[in-house]
């Protein structure tokens, strides 16, 4: 690393050193790196909250925390993992990868890029500090449903301001991604020749711009209800508590795809590389991603089937939700067809990508079940739902992020991780993720509601298993940190094209790539 920094200094004597380098940087790689480290830290903070939850739920009866604090943990765990871990990780990957995949020197708006990152640590400091308030942090769930969220303590305005900041950061990041992709592609790289990861991020960026302002509106209305005497959501003043749910989920469902579309892009990059075969159905992958994004705006009420909608509304949202299975199915079939008659090897990124396909599909199956309104009346707000969205987010989004880090780490740093340790990390993670989340299907179906600190004794056994799994999963991630440390401290340099089957412009650059990735645009035929 030091040799690399010295070299940078030769080229860029104006670059500040030490901490100022990171505070003032406008370089897409530095900012990408900061996003990824930030995400890793938040992943552990959110993970610790999950372990508080699982420790309390290890056996029936309250042993560790009071119910109010338990609710703060479930609320904060979600906010931290969604806005602090998964979204920044994808933005970090976008920062690192988009310029080097499209043949650009940097992102289109470098100073905006710096700002959109540096909003995050401040926003999260403010949000997490509410846990130390006398009245505690937010405890109404990350969905902030009124009237309950209006009962919250002093934390509420702080949490709302920090969500505003996070939304601002996301919108700025999305603008940057769109500006970069639409303006800075190498000559000859038409839209339909772009790497699929770039495509998924382009679509994700539009989802961010469309949905984040809706969230901002919803939480601002909460704020005025609480402090300025409006009654948007309070029935006693003529308002409507269900209106909030409609607005929130109009943001919330596109948000779900913001958390998964870049993961689709990552898996669509890794599977062909280790199958040594081109991605099957590139065009249909692009169209499927776009269809999923469009459909995400007309399915929101499937998160709230039990609020008592008219029959016609329930039917509409059931049908549109089921329809999402078609483009999602196309993606899964295309991945399998890419592997079919390939020449596969199973390095760590490939293992995580394969596990992604299988376990994400399991989450997709439970999603299809949840779309059936009559059955959803039973599933809704139970651990079955908790199992469903953790299957799509942990072995879904998080596995894709881990796979991406293993896949591109040698490119970013010029250093190869230890393959045996990587495989060990994979097997431990996959075993424990299933041990944690699979039993949640069972207790949910058997009648255990979500967001409860204590439960009837018939749910005890599967909860104990899930808790053991959660601690195993958490500890396995320490191995991931060790693997990163172990890779970064070694001197051995990875080859420029360290994966035999890897395709794309990033592999034509040195490992690590030069400070300004492509000073001259490469030519694409």
């Amino acid at each position: 690393m030091s040799a690399n920094i010295d070299k940078l200094h030769d080229d860029h004597s104006h670059t500040p050193t030490g901490i100022m380098r990171w505070i003032t940087t406008t370089n897409h790689k530095d900012i990408g790196t900061m996003y990824l480290w930030f995400s890793l830290i938040m992943f552990f903070i959110g993970g610790l909250m999950a372990l508080v939850i699982r420790a309390e739920l290890f056996q029936p009866g309250l042993q560790l925390v009071v119910p109010g604090f338990f609710n703060q943990m479930t609320t904060m765990h979600a906010l931290v993992m969604i806005f602090g871990a998964v979204m920044p990780a994808f933005v970090g990957l976008a920062n690192w990868q988009i310029p080097i995949m499209i043949g650009a020197p940097d992102m289109a708006l470098p100073r905006l890029n710096n700002w959109s990152f540096w909003i995050l640590p401040f926003a999260f400091t403010m949000m997490l500090s509410t846990l130390f308030f006398e009245s505690g942090g937010p405890a109404a769930g990350w969905t902030l449903y009124p009237p309950l969220s209006l009962q919250g303590g002093d934390s509420m305005p702080f949490v709302i301001l920090s969500i505003h900041l996070l939304g601002l950061s996301s919108i700025l990041g999305a603008i940057n991604v769109i500006a970069t992709i639409l303006n800075m592609r190498a000559p000859g790289m038409t839209l339909m020749k772009m790497p699929i990861f770039v495509w998924t991020w382009l679509i994700t960026a539009f989802l961010l711009i469309a949905s984040m302002p809706v969230l901002a509106g919803a939480i601002t209305m909460l704020l005025t209800d609480r402090f300025f005497g409006t009654s948007f959501f309070t029935a006693s003043g003529g308002g409507d508590p269900v209106l909030f749910q409609h607005i929130f989920w109009f943001f919330g469902h596109p948000e779900v795809y913001i958390l998964i579309l870049p993961a689709f892009g990552i898996v669509s990059t890794i599977i062909p590389a280790f199958s040594r075969k081109k991605l099957f159905g590139y065009d249909s992958m692009v169209y499927a991603t776009a269809s999923i994004a469009l459909l995400s705006f007309i399915v929101w009420a499937h998160h709230m089937f039990t609020v008592g909608m008219p029959l016609a509304g329930e039917l509409f949202f059931m049908f549109t939700t089921m329809l999402i299975a078609v483009p999602t199915g196309v993606k899964v079939f295309n991945w399998v067809a890419t592997m079919w008659r390939g020449s596969m090897t199973f390095e760590t990124p490939m293992l995580f990508a394969i596990a992604f396909i299988v376990l994400f599909t399991v989450g997709g199956f439970s999603g299809l079940m949840l779309a059936m309104v009559p059955a959803d009346f039973q599933y809704h707000d139970t651990y079955f739902v908790v199992a469903h969205f953790h299957y799509v987010l942990v072995p879904g989004a998080v596995f894709a992020i881990i796979a991406a880090v293993y896949y591109w780490l040698p490119k970013w740093t010029g250093k190869m991780y230890n393959e045996s340790l990587g495989k060990l990390h994979f097997w431990l993670t996959t075993f424990f993720v299933n041990l944690t989340f699979f039993p949640m299907h069972f207790v949910g179906l058997a009648g255990m509601p979500r967001r409860i600190p204590d439960y009837a004794v018939q749910f005890a056994d599967f909860n104990a298993i899930a808790s053991v799994g959660a601690f195993g999963f958490g500890l396995s991630q320490l191995l991931f940190v060790y693997i990163l440390y172990n890779a970064l401290k070694q001197r051995v340099t990875a080859e420029d094209k360290c994966w035999e089957g890897a395709e794309g412009l990033e592999w034509t650059l040195s490992s690590p790539p030069p400070y300004h990735s492509f000073e001259k645009a490469p030519k694409i035929d």
Binding site: P147, T306, V330, M369
Partner: protein, 264 residues
Amino acid sequence: MKIFSIILMVISPTAALAAWETNMPRGVTPTSEIAYDLHMLIFYITVVIGILVFGAMLYSIIYHRKSLGHKPASFHESTKVEIIWTVIPFIILVGMAVPATKALILMEDTRDSEITLKVTGYQWMWQYEYLEDSVSFFSKIDNESNVARRLDSGVDVTGVDHYLRNVDNVVVLPTNTKVRILLTASDVIHAWWVPELGGKKDAIPGYINEMWVDIKEPGVYRGQCAELCGKDHGFMPIVVKAVPKNEYYKWVSIQKSNKVAITK
């Protein structure tokens, strides 16, 4: 000792806890039965799809590997195949939507009910009002569970009778009677849910939601609040006792005379 009991609990669950329940109960109402049947239908469909997709993938993983000297094929698109795997899932979905739509229409039809029960959610208890008979009472977690559930109460909760699923005043409903349930709340949103009676519905301030049950078997059915409603959300149980009609009317008349006695 505590650790020992934890280990014991993990490795040898007692049958009395009915511990390893893995599926949705079939329940005792027409609505719970259609929810269950639909649930199983879709579950089996996804199992078949899963076996086909994962089977193909597993075959490929086993045979199409570089270590076996397998050479990569060069195909990477086929409009025909893509159309097939767009159309076939669509047809399967239509096949699933038909029974789901029928079931939903039935579930949302609250007409021709014989009695009406109004349920109001409070932080953290339920109020039940029998509208035809003007019987009304509150129902909250029973005292034994309420003591045992406190942090470090020192009570072994496995010894508590129906821990967290027992109430002071039980809701009594007649069997083989279509009962319309109206739901609302006085403070925040709650959801009334007894799995064996079918689905849940939210109880929302300012709204009156509707659902119906027609309990086919006498018995005691337990559930709890299913929508996060604050710190004691986990401690809002529901207990429904279903009895034959004649017994139900006997119970109603006792409730009425009790009420009269109190008013005097």
